[in-house]
């Protein structure tokens, strides 16, 4: 996407007539106008306008690096603004710290959960604003009572005294939201709140959002999932390369329009699945009756050469757990794994790697990347044998390998020595995939390969998958995004409570069928 973005930006004038109506409406909850921000040479925000009504869900859309987070961090008082004005309920404000932002009723729920794991639900919600008795001690009774009330209000059946680390990710996210609301937040920014939620939990989150709307809370909703945007947002603002592309009413727009606004070009074929394995392709991996107490229950499946086998199921159905057993990260109680028909024992990941298996984890930051090390380090860490012999490092081979992957997967990085933490989510994911492609795997397990990745990078990851299967690699793809599994898989295994409930062929794919089996039907 090179070329003159300013021109393309002008060519897409999506400011609709209806937008003018909105402009007329009474007092805005929030108005940010002409926001400018530069970081050491990078023009991160170029005169962006953004506004939010009370009771409105307003989506902020854009590829990673488009400026969404920067804009929200300015709102949250994390970055000072260079130029531009911020009005809250008509009054000009200056936000110089996170405290200022909180005092103004601004609350942000980050992608990463920021609760204290060892503290209880009540303690987390009241953290920093604990009620005290007359004598100055913490008023535990009041804290627990109020927490209980709030939990009930949100329909959560939880004890206020349970430590947060014992909750599921979805529950933790709800606690974050409750915490935000309990700050008397007038506006809440939600940054990819559904990235680790199941469909059912998403529904629950949406009900909560509805609830907040009724109370007049304004919500800025950041997500890459189109169906969610159409389900709950009122308006959508698109940013690209730090510039405002336009604000549209959700009911007047389409996914295609939004995508072309985002990427500045038409992306007609979003999912590009252009391959199909030959019929009766040989079986490269077979798993027989794998069981692990309380986790896996008699799971069996076969993977054919050059196919993409999707794994659908609710969170906790045992999909990642099954793959971790196959990859030698976890032990299992019973069952057998065969490669090319030969049974084998996999005690650790190195055994699996020797047999050509690679596993790209779903948690790239926690379990995948070495964030403070370079792109090169991260790509080559699994193939050091190929260029380090005792004290001799073949630096040329290492450089060449790294550049090969940076080019092939079009990883956007200024240079191979850049620390991985400075890359966008999509590029981080491509670095992690590169690490495993460097090992020349025959069987590639991708666990939620496009989580937290923008549309452009998503399409690129799908293209990589297509290329790999053409080269004869077999892919297992775990995904909680149904459109993704349906469009990219040749077959779909649906898991339920640690077992494989069914394996669907392409002509049987539908969201309803998958959900039916995923919920135990």
């Amino acid at each position: 996407m090179d070329g003159n973005d300013e021109t393309t930006g002008r060519v897409t004038p999506i400011t609709l007539p209806s937008f003018i109506e909105v402009e007329r409406m009474s007092q805005k909850l929030l108005r940010m106008s002409g926001i400018e921000k530069r970081f050491a040479g990078v023009h991160a925000l170029k005169g962006v306008d953004f506004e939010l009504e009370s009771g409105e869900v307003h989506a902020l859309l854009g590829e990673n690096g488009a400026g969404k987070s920067t804009l929200m961090k300015i709102l949250a008082g994390i970055y000072p603004v260079d130029e531009g004005e911020i009005f809250i309920e008509g009054n000009k404000v200056s936000i110089n710290s996170v405290k200022d932002a909180q005092a103004l009723g601004i609350s942000i729920i980050h992608q990463e959960i920021s609760l204290v794991p060892h503290l209880s639900v009540a303690e987390n919600i009241f953290l920093g604003k604990e009620p005290v008795t007359k004598t100055g001690w913490i008023d535990w009774k009041k804290m627990i009572e109020e927490t209980r009330k709030t939990l009930q209000q949100f329909g959560l059946e939880l004890s206020p005294e349970v430590p947060v680390k014992k909750l599921t990710v979805a529950q933790q996210q709800m606690i974050e939201i409750i915490k935000a609301v309990s700050f008397r937040a007038k506006m809440i920014v939600m940054d990819e709140p559904t990235s680790s939620l199941t469909e059912k939990e998403v529904e629950f989150l949406f009900r909560t959002i509805g609830h907040l709307k009724e109370q007049g809370v304004g919500i800025v909703y950041i997500s890459h999932r189109m169906n969610e945007l159409f389900a709950i947002t009122d308006r959508i603002t698109v940013l690209r390369d730090g510039a405002l592309i336009g604000t549209v009413r959700t009911k007047d727009t389409t996914a295609d329009q939004l995508i072309s606004m985002m990427v500045g070009r038409e992306l007609t074929q979003y999912y590009i699945k252009d391959t199909a394995p030959e019929n009766g392709g040989e079986i490269v991996l077979s798993v027989h009756n794998l069981s692990k107490k309380g986790v896996l229950n008699d799971a069996s499946f076969e993977l054919k050469k050059g196919e993409i086998l999707g794994f659908a199921g609710l969170v906790g159905a045992g999909r990642s757990e099954l793959m971790k057993c196959i990859f030698g990260l976890d032990a299992f109680d019973e069952g057998e794994i065969r490669i090319d028909g030969k049974p084998l024992i996999i005690r650790n990941p190195n055994d699996a790697i020797k047999h050509g298996i690679a596993y790209v984890t779903e948690n790239r930051k926690e379990e995948g990347l070495f964030l403070i090390r370079s792109v090169q380090y991260n790509i080559t860490i699994k193939v050091l044998d190929k260029f380090i012999k005792w004290l001799r490092v073949n630096a040329r081979y290492e450089d060449q390998k790294t550049r090969q992957f940076i080019n092939e997967l079009s990883i956007k990085t200024p240079n191979p020595d850049q620390e991985v933490r400075n890359l966008s989510g999509g590029n981080q994911q491509k670095v992690l995939i590169s690490r495993w492609l460097a090992t020349n795997p025959r069987i590639l397990i991708l666990d939620e390969p496009t989580r937290g990745v923008d549309v452009g990078a998503k399409a690129e990851i799908y293209a990589i998958m297509n290329r790999l299967v053409k080269e004869g690699v077999s892919i297992i793809m775990i995904s909680s995004e149904l459109p993704e599994v349906i469009n990219m898989s040749d077959r779909i295994a649906v898991m339920y409570k640690g077992g494989i409930r069914t394996i669907l062929n392409r002509d049987e794919f539908s969201q309803e069928t998958i959900m039916h089996y995923a919920t135990g039907g």
């Binding site: 990941p349 990347l369 070495f370 403070i372 380090y377 050091l384 044998d385 005792w390 004290l391």
Partner: protein, 315 residues
């Protein structure tokens, strides 16, 4: 190579400047500081701490800590001294035995750290006590005097009549550790395990082996430092190396290595150890009492590390 030196200077700009300023101040207050003899003296005084600090750098980058090195120094020194002085064992074997003691302590630390969930702080706190106790038990609390010229040469000799032996070892170990951290798989794995242990596990890196290596190497270096120190003192002293682990940690931290692991450089540690060495040598030359020296050292560590943190934040 030019690139290497340049990047070394750039990466360590802050503490290098600190070291230079320190040298200038001391040289102004006492011109004797800058004589060749005294500078070699500084390097010699720095050497045992540097051995410990080099290995400590690896352990800390790995995400661990080794508190036992001071005690291991004492045991190794005592064992070697006793074998030479009381049992007339050939020097070569006595030294080997001393090193073996260090390696065994290190291996014990490494084994427990790799196979249990006990925090390394606690593990090495325990072996620190065990080591110190062993040194007292072996010697009954008395120094073991050694009257062997060959033994004394180890730590007090000169190569070519000018280069003190401990400084020669320093040079060798700095090169060795630099190569391990920058040119070997083990070195990269140490950064990986310290930077993100989960990612290391998911990548199929043998975490246990990496941990075992780092602690064992630390034990070896402590053993070596203990023998050199014993040789310089002409005796095996059960009180040798008390609090040596803290000077080593200070050198590592001054060198910019992150206490939470994953980040650090051998070159930084060398400068860190030199700052500590120059400081105590210089304060002695100026005539500051040893009691005050502790206070000055503490303040310098605080300021230096704080300046480093600020620099990193703004960078």
């Amino acid at each position: 190579m030019v690139y290497g030196i340049r990047s070394f200077i750039r990466a360590n700009m802050g503490i290098l400047a600190g070291l230079l300023v320190l040298c200038v101040i001391i040289a102004v207050l006492n011109p004797n500081f800058l004589t060749t003899n005294n500078l070699l003296n500084v390097l010699r005084q720095t050497s045992t701490n540097l051995y410990l600090a080099l290995a400590m750098t690896m352990v800390i980058i790995l995400g661990g800590i080794d508190l036992s090195v001071g005690s291991v120094m004492a045991v190794s020194g005592v064992v070697t001294a006793m074998l030479v002085a009381l049992f007339d064992v050939p020097l070569f074997i006595a030294v080997a035995a001393g090193l073996l003691v260090g390696i065994l302590f290190g291996a014990l630390n490494g084994y427990v750290a790799a196979t249990t969930v006990i925090p390394p702080f606690i593990i090495t706190l325990a072996t620190m006590n065990i080591g110190r106790g062993a040194a007292y038990v072996l010697t009954d609390g008395q120094p073991v005097r050694v009257m062997s010229d060959a033994f004394n040469f180890i730590g007090s000799g000169y190569i070519g009549g000018i280069l003190p032996t401990p400084v020669l070892y320093s040079i060798i170990f700095v090169i060795l550790c630099y190569l391990i951290m920058n040119k070997t798989k083990t070195g990269r794995y140490i950064y990986a395990v310290g930077g993100n242990p989960e990612a290391a596990r998911f990548s199929g890196i043998n975490i246990k082996r990496v941990k075992f290596f780092a602690y064992t190497f630390s034990g070896f270096m402590a053993g070596f430092a203990g023998i050199v120190l014993a040789s310089r003192m002409f005796s095996g002293q059960p009180t040798a190396g008390v609090a040596a682990e803290l000077d080593a940690i200070a050198a590592v931290v001054l060198g910019g290595t992150s206490m939470t692991g994953g980040y650090g450089r051998i070159g930084g540690t060398v400068i860190g150890a030199l700052i500590i060495g120059v400081l105590s040598n210089g304060l002695n030359l100026i005539g500051v009492s040893s009691f005050w020296q502790y206070i000055v050292k503490g303040i310098v560590i605080l300021i230096a590390v704080y300046a480093d943190v600020i620099k990193r934040k703004t960078a």
